[in-house]
Symmetry: D2
Subunit: 483 residues, 4 copies
Amino acid sequence: MIKYVDIYDKDKVNDECGVFGVYKDSSDDFNIASLTREALYGLQHRGQVSAGITVNNNENFTTVKEFGMVSEVFNDKAIDKLGDGNIAVGHVRYSAHESLDRAANQPLVMRYIAGSLAIASNGAITNFAEIRQQLEHGGAIFQSNSNVEIMSYVIATERCTTDDLETAVLFAMDKLEGAYSAVLCGPSRLIGFRDKNGFRPLCIGKLNNSYIITSESCVIDSLGGEFLRDVEPGEMVVIDETGFHSYKSRIKAYNTSMCIFEYVYVARPDSVIDGVSVHNARFKAGELLYNEHPIDADMVCGVPDSGIIAAQGYAKASGIPYGTGFVKNKYIGRTVGTGKDKKKRLLKTRLTALKANVSGKRIIIVDDSIVRGETANHIVKLLRDAGAKEVHMLISSPPFVCPCYFGMDIHNKESLIANRFSQEEICNKIGADSLGYLSVSGLNQIAEGADVGFCNGCFTGEYPAEIPRTIFVDKFAKKINKK
Amino acid sequence: MIKYVDIYDKDKVNDECGVFGVYKDSSDDFNIASLTREALYGLQHRGQVSAGITVNNNENFTTVKEFGMVSEVFNDKAIDKLGDGNIAVGHVRYSAHESLDRAANQPLVMRYIAGSLAIASNGAITNFAEIRQQLEHGGAIFQSNSNVEIMSYVIATERCTTDDLETAVLFAMDKLEGAYSAVLCGPSRLIGFRDKNGFRPLCIGKLNNSYIITSESCVIDSLGGEFLRDVEPGEMVVIDETGFHSYKSRIKAYNTSMCIFEYVYVARPDSVIDGVSVHNARFKAGELLYNEHPIDADMVCGVPDSGIIAAQGYAKASGIPYGTGFVKNKYIGRTVGTGKDKKKRLLKTRLTALKANVSGKRIIIVDDSIVRGETANHIVKLLRDAGAKEVHMLISSPPFVCPCYFGMDIHNKESLIANRFSQEEICNKIGADSLGYLSVSGLNQIAEGADVGFCNGCFTGEYPAEIPRTIFVDKFAKKINKK
Amino acid sequence: MIKYVDIYDKDKVNDECGVFGVYKDSSDDFNIASLTREALYGLQHRGQVSAGITVNNNENFTTVKEFGMVSEVFNDKAIDKLGDGNIAVGHVRYSAHESLDRAANQPLVMRYIAGSLAIASNGAITNFAEIRQQLEHGGAIFQSNSNVEIMSYVIATERCTTDDLETAVLFAMDKLEGAYSAVLCGPSRLIGFRDKNGFRPLCIGKLNNSYIITSESCVIDSLGGEFLRDVEPGEMVVIDETGFHSYKSRIKAYNTSMCIFEYVYVARPDSVIDGVSVHNARFKAGELLYNEHPIDADMVCGVPDSGIIAAQGYAKASGIPYGTGFVKNKYIGRTVGTGKDKKKRLLKTRLTALKANVSGKRIIIVDDSIVRGETANHIVKLLRDAGAKEVHMLISSPPFVCPCYFGMDIHNKESLIANRFSQEEICNKIGADSLGYLSVSGLNQIAEGADVGFCNGCFTGEYPAEIPRTIFVDKFAKKINKK
Amino acid sequence: MIKYVDIYDKDKVNDECGVFGVYKDSSDDFNIASLTREALYGLQHRGQVSAGITVNNNENFTTVKEFGMVSEVFNDKAIDKLGDGNIAVGHVRYSAHESLDRAANQPLVMRYIAGSLAIASNGAITNFAEIRQQLEHGGAIFQSNSNVEIMSYVIATERCTTDDLETAVLFAMDKLEGAYSAVLCGPSRLIGFRDKNGFRPLCIGKLNNSYIITSESCVIDSLGGEFLRDVEPGEMVVIDETGFHSYKSRIKAYNTSMCIFEYVYVARPDSVIDGVSVHNARFKAGELLYNEHPIDADMVCGVPDSGIIAAQGYAKASGIPYGTGFVKNKYIGRTVGTGKDKKKRLLKTRLTALKANVSGKRIIIVDDSIVRGETANHIVKLLRDAGAKEVHMLISSPPFVCPCYFGMDIHNKESLIANRFSQEEICNKIGADSLGYLSVSGLNQIAEGADVGFCNGCFTGEYPAEIPRTIFVDKFAKKINKK
């Protein structure tokens, strides 16, 4: 029943997402549903497929979750429905899959031996197939293929043989392999926990006397709160009426390994992750890019929005003026996560080159990555059509050569352009005068001084933890025993 | 952890509903989603809260379910999304509860040890609390408090230790007490099963070479199919590529006991249940009502729509002309199942008395039941305002005196008007010149000749099966062990 | 530029509709928007395409109008938006046209020389083309092809040369030919007016101290009000702070001519129009039908809903028992006004024959009319499939042979089955054992004693007023002078 | 009946908007509805209240217009409904008014003496009250208080006495005073016209062989077309099957006067208006700001998005590094045009200061304008909370001191902060270390070399054309003659 595979599984829903939890102190007087909505606005860049909030009001759980952006799901009527309470968790979901399963929307609210739980998670469980198979053999039923349903089950199972929820979660962390940064709302406590490698960010803040646990520190800032610290890899933090508590998982990773692509692209520049500012990491990537690829030009531009800061770093290091090369139509949504055809159509009108600033100049254009090469090709063409004399494209990360098993939606090897073409061929395909990537050794320096190590598996194929040995295929059971 | 109670539990979702399943023969060429929508239109009177369809297309399950009427949930876009397939199940849900849990909408689709299942059920599991507690002690998690999730779990558990789905369902039927008429779509078969008492109807039909299993025979007629027979109490029927199979549950009920109120009110008059026409049962109730309450009057009217046929029976037996006394505004929805305030407001404009036909006459008005007395009072007032000289109200069933534990939403003892006032007091409260109910012995004759016995527990307090010993209170675990 | 035609114009929007107006006395305390919504529920049978309400609150006009049923357009949010006020008008719109013009939804609110006006009308202006052409030559612009926009313009034009709104409306009535029953809300008064022939109904009621003007008396009853009288043909009634006033148009019709088909089909049976109960007229049609077509049978049924009462009349006259032959699925909308394909699909599941009551019997089935013959054919087939031994179809009106120019959506000659086939051929086509229509002389007796004469033009081709001499074709101007 | 006022009228709907028209050559093969949607995306910054498109397909006009963003109104279903055609016009509407009149959404489609017309306009008619009064005295009716309905009427009136549409529009331009840049789709031609002062931009482009007329040149670029030239003040351009034609209005303005605030804030930076790049004008404003306010600091930032380019200009002129100071949450809509409370709430989470880049630095922050001062205060506070040592605020335009009568939503004198407080007081209120505005003489240089003169009335009170002499108050007629 086990099948070894080297491609990324399509039947499994990834949990690349943003999470948020708040434990409201009785001395504070904000509305908890409204606050959580504001927080999810600050996490929206991590997932635009669905949004959800669960409010715990004296052990009564109310949930609103639906496909759509935060602004669509959480109108004032939804906030009224959620009401107020003392604990809340929220989630924004990313999905690269065409067909979307409503049952995988989060928070997942479940009732089990010890009451109710609401969980919101970001990551990917690498021993998903093994755990699920084991649970199914015990009679379990599943309403989705989501990581979070598996996590819930493992916690519920552990809870049957432990004295309290904290122990159950710690034991569950021993069993769950892979990447996860999760928040959990129990009957009377808020829990946050992060896998032992620390693949995804998770941090703690304070808003007056209330505690916040969330994916990125920018959320704490935008709510006017105070950043306390990151949840450490392998740590579980608990907030209840007796205050803040920290527990460590018994099993440690050999090395911690935060996803370095969070700094390059995923996170917001105003977040600080594991001790390093995302803005500064991107700026430094730009400076290092100049060290590796010094080019003579009249202006450095960034591709909006993710290439802007690295371009400013390059400009500073090189002394070449930074300028605005493109206008982005902010009324057309982010392309990532939408259908391919729509992507092309939107690409056309989303960016226009700023002719008046580009015409007649030798341009260096900086972007964070190249996936399929279509966007890069379009951008070079826009600049040439606008009269640029030369167009040099620089990428603030190395080429993608391997899939990610720890929560990023990076495609299988065959679809990655860097596995199919040489750098020179890619340069020709996108039509640039030159093309340069940041080297892996350069990448490793962008977040120097961080409290954690890094995973750069998608650039190197060297993964800091075991990748899935078994691929979960939803239908296999039916094939062999289908009555 | 167990609490004995005598009131009906508010935390538990009832499954008074309509179910439908179809196994499409390869020689037939209808669209299975479209056909199931048509079928659900024919079951809409059994539940207006939510509607759902699951289509199995070569083991790929697609589901659309949502709050709302069939016409709202299943626009053409939804039907397109469902596509075609070889097996489908559908469900309409009734709910008397104010706050509605989306996770209880059906069909429930689950994945378990042997693939995927979609279940749609009508009824109430009376040992719900015991089963749930037992499952929770084994680490199970629940996403709703619905009967159907419990049923799914029990089937999944049985499947772990049996050879095929049929055996698992049969074993599950041994464990599940109470009322249930359910359809189940497995990877390659359609299964229908009915509790051993046969509390709720379930029947089998044929459409060309395809098989249908559904709550009421009217659906088979409206689709142009052929009625075959009822599923017997305690029977499981299976349709797969080898044809039609029937199995009997090992445990038999002492007596079968179809809900007699299905004949009085719930079912559609063009359905035939367990060998007796609903129309004929209602007509006979009217005739018996005349035997018990012969009244001298100028015209017999029925309260639209459920009192119409009994009124015609009374008219025939008495020789008093039948006439139309009310016009019902068909653009205002059925009041059952909506909020109390809305109910009052709608009551006002939904019916108007037909003055021209009522004025100056002595009127007998027939209705199926009195719950709180508000509607009856309103109806008598309408007739008097329209100039009726006398108004005699006759009810084609006995007074409700006990709750129903087997799937009808009949209220706790305190809220039933017949437990709080004498018949004379009720007559005064509603303002009628006289009031008469059909006696229990009369009621027992309305469906004479049926293939089953009847449950009249709500009228007598004598239940044909054990009522719940334990009340399920969702929060109890939290109270004693709330971490 | 003028084109004489004998078919009904497709470019022109008909105003077959329901209208309602209320002038709220300061001593009353209902919410005017809410009351108007209740009233529109009672008129919904006259139009299901769009619904609209305008509330005048001290000369501030607020309007909500949209495509959809009353229940869809007027949720509580819409009612809140409308707020309260002292005058309101409401409208439900019927339309047989596939492509629907939003700008023709009513009430039409306009601002002109003397402030604001909101008009809601039911009918058809027969000199539409001439008036519109004349206005266009004066520089007028039109945002729709609706009758009501023309009516508004004529009133506005008259107002420029008269002293008050009443005079302007009276003068406009002189110019507007055809059928119209309209309500109009001016800055400080409510006006109702009815064309001199009285083609469409319009009546006056009182609710406590407030006045109501509406299409049908059933609305007044359902609101708990008191019916005062009909607006007379050629009469304008005005309610303002000084009370109720009546004015007569200077020009009188040779004979008044209420549409007799209102009694047969359009109006609700609990309405009384021009002194005759709609229920009684239908019952009498059934009795007359027996006189003209005495048939030996076992049961008389009506096609729900419009044939029910005539069937009861036939039953009484003949002594043959009346019985229920069909169950109508009330969850599927009225077919009139929907697309052809949808019509067919709905037809299939909307009605089912009540086998238990029909099988083995000789059935007389009564309906109000035959348009294309498809429904009749379907009904006969349903009865035969249910085991009826004989099926005799009787129609409570004569065959349609001519179009209606006065507000009914009756088709052009070619599409009317009675113009294409003999009665015998139609009987064969629908598969009945016999077919009988009520004669024109019978029809003329159904509403004997009414205060008005009748139009039966669609059955006879004899129209009581001039039919349109010119056909309005929206595009003609473009064709000859298209710059 | 005429009332002289000095404040801006609240009953009148302004037409600050974006317009687009296309005449498709038979040799081109794009879908005209789809193309117009893409164009409206590029104009969305000019209006987010409603969006509309009218397609003319061989003189059949189809319109979709609704409240909402382009992405909300124009889903694929709407585009399908519009179909294809040879001429189309589109519109996005801005409105500062709380209560929104649906009837003012554009394009306005009307039928008149010479067929159908669809008009979309941007601007404000200053003799609105006089023209409307005159038309009402002629019997005209109005369904909104919009400028575009008045414009339509004037064109229709002129058309009655002229030979063709072109002449009618030219004559209408003589009568219509104020600001307007409009596109008009007649039966067989596309017309664009711009008031004699040229207050609002309007330009002409070519897409293959098809012609485009639109508010901003960035739209032409984003569609991949070629910019031809601006429509000149007082010019009417016509495209029909014989090609492109230009006509001049008989009456000339003393001086042309494009709104200079279009360069400062309204237009997109990649547009070129009347010969000057908006980007370059803003960059120059930044340079001039340095000349007028040289400040010693560590970093220059712009308030996203409108202050970014001026900040880059300041950085270049001063040599101080440009850096990113803020992260803007792109998932929260533009605040302009939303309710006041919502504005405050959104302000809170929309921007966060980039601590890592700001902390410990002396910051110059550049914005385009200060209206009420709330945003400026918030921005200064964000920088200080993020650790900025000094915060100097510079504004790339002079203080607003007067209302705009020509299409900008600039408030009455009392609400403008610069009329209530001195510059020093404002600096204190917003909490900055210093505050500087660009001077009027500086402003006059930002678009040097343009083909037109400028209006800077809102900064100086010196208007280049007559301001409204009469204020239109919708209710005046009712007050004096209210029957």
